[in-house]
């Protein structure tokens, strides 16, 4: 993996260690610098130390809505950091969230919402889109 100074930093937050491991390896292979955290407090500690260019946050961690809370805190700290929320709510409950329009997205307070299981290409596409914006 070549190192370059313009590597973007992605913060990954998920209590599923397999998801963290998989996305981290693939993001690193794709040339990103990755910070990972298994819960909200670890994520907050990392955020105290450095500013990621983007965050990927699981919704259900230590609490069913831990991801929403963390997302809110990231926004408050630095509104310029795009946040992608990842959730298995859809596949577990059959609920669908409409996120096609800005208005539909406004309530989640995130820039994108991905349903688990997340394919890496999907995540990569969203990351590229948000970092370009």
């Amino acid at each position: 993996m070549e190192l370059s100074d313009d590597r973007k930093t992605v913060l990954l937050v998920d209590d599923d260690s397999d998801f963290l491991f998989q996305q981290r390896l693939q993001l690193e292979t794709a040339g990103f610098h990755v910070l990972s955290a298994a819960n909200t407090s670890e994520a907050s500690r990392l955020l105290d130390q450095q500013r990621p260019d983007l965050a990927v946050v699981d919704v259900m961690m230590e609490n069913p809505d831990a991801g929403f809370t963390l997302c809110y805190h990231i926004r408050k700290r630095d509104p310029s950091i795009p946040v992608i929320l990842v959730t298995s709510v859809n596949s577990e409950t059959g609920m669908e969230f409409a996120t096609a329009t800005d208005q539909e997205r406004s309530w989640i307070k995130a820039d994108a919402l991905l349903a688990k299981p997340v394919r890496f290409e999907q995540l990569r596409r969203e990351i590229d889109r948000l970092l370009k914006a």
Binding site: D16, D18, F21, Q22, L25, F120
Partner: protein, 390 residues
């Protein structure tokens, strides 16, 4: 106290008032279902009026005169039968006519009272109906609760089975996409993790089968006098390799034979769940001590570890199904969340109990006290159904 609504339908006012007076302040105590029932009485002077009132709000019990001007009691029964309700009908017949009673019963009446009747006869009929209604209500409530517990179990089970599948699928896709390049060696860790998740799933399914097996009551136990030290030694032998790889020492303390009547495989299952937990939730250099003894005729199995321990709140939740304590210390440890539930259910089969004492970062001590094997109920085939009279 529950209050049941009674509707008296009779064209004779004296009859209606008689019932009203009899049931005023009357209560029925139902010790078998721990319930006391009182009554409110409403009146209808014709079949037509009764049908209107039933349509508006069906009472719990309908006292229905057979012979009335206008539509008869039997016709009222026919109308009622078209829209099923939980209401019970007691038919009032003019004289002890078996024929009328049989016809009424065929058309859905629950019971009948022959005129002239005494207040005690009314009370007896009402008591019988009230008992039946309250039993039915409780049976329905229980059935609904069981249904909810079953749903909850299936929901959590679905989640627990899907999580490892998602993980393994993710690893295979990485391989498929050559996400880490073309060298096979780069995938060693992904393969190791996949296998760990599959093994976890194996354990979950094995535990689930154990649990179902225990709960079904269909299992034939091979009860005989055994020395608890034998299953304990076998379990420690099996888990020793795992313990060594975690740098945890295992020791059995039982100087004397520990005789008890049991199925050896039950004792092995209890010990293997407790000891494997004690190893898993331990720390390098830690230890697990298994102590077997007899106390007041009971068999005591104590499994003490020097592991990560847990708070009192966490310990309180521990014996439920699929409960796994999730915190930073347990993050990397796999488990089905069924092991302790199995231990508790097995202990109950021996009139026993399971206790836990724990301190965070110091360790946990699980104590199982076993008495004598309890005869297991045969698989339950009798259910209280609201439609059948017991």
């Amino acid at each position: 106290m529950e209050t049941l609504r009674v509707l008296v339908t009779d064209d004779e006012m004296g009859m209606r008032l008689g019932v009203l007076r009899t049931l005023r302040g009357f209560t029925v105590r139902l010790p078998d279902v721990n319930e006391e029932v009182g009554f409110t009485v409403e009146q209808a002077e014709s079949g037509e009026q009764a049908l209107e009132m039933i349509a508006a709000a069906p009472p719990d019990i309908l006292l229905l005169d057979h012979k009335m001007p206008g539509i008869s009691g039997l016709e009222v029964l026919d109308h009622i039968a078209r829209t099923p309700t939980e209401m019970l009908t007691i038919m009032i017949t003019a004289y002890a006519s078996i024929e009328t009673a049989v016809t009424a019963t065929k058309r859905g009446a629950y019971d009948f009272l022959a005129k002239p009747f005494t207040p005690d006869e009314v009370k007896a009929a009402i008591r019988k109906a009230a008992h039946r209604i309250v039993l039915g209500k409780q049976a329905r409530k229980l059935a609904e609760e069981n249904r909810q517990v079953r749903f909850q179990f299936i929901r959590v089970l679905g989640h627990e089975l899907k999580a490892p599948l998602n993980a393994v699928e993710g690893y295979l896709r990485m391989l498929q996409d050559r996400a880490l390049g073309d060298a096979v060696g780069a995938y060693d860790e992904t393969i190791r993790r996949s296998i760990a998740r599959l093994q976890g799933m194996h354990k979950l399914i094995a535990d689930l089968l154990d649990l179902t097996h225990i709960e079904s009551g269909q299992r034939r136990r091979d009860l005989r006098e055994i020395d608890a030290r034998q299953p304990a030694q076998a379990v420690l032998e099996t888990l020793r390799a795992e313990a060594e790889s975690q740098q945890v020492s295992l020791e059995l303390h039982a100087a004397e034979p520990v005789p008890l009547i049991a199925d050896r495989s039950d004792i092995e299952m209890i010990l293997s769940n407790l000891v494997s937990n004690a190893v898993k939730y331990n720390r390098p250099g830690g230890r697990v001590d298994v102590t077997l003894s007899k106390k007041d005729g009971k068999t005591s199995i104590v499994v003490a570890d020097t592991g990560i321990g847990m708070t009192e709140e966490e310990a309180g939740k521990l014996f439920g199904e699929f409960v796994r304590i999730r915190n930073e210390k347990t993050a990397g440890i796999l488990g089905s969340g069924l092991g302790l539930s199995i231990v508790r259910k097995l202990a109950l089969l021996y009139g026993g109990e399971v206790r836990v004492e724990s301190r965070p970062n110091a360790g946990s001590t699980f104590t199982v006290l076993l008495d004598a094997p309890i005869a297991q109920d045969p698989p339950s085939t009798t259910t209280i159904s609201p439609g059948a009279e017991s």
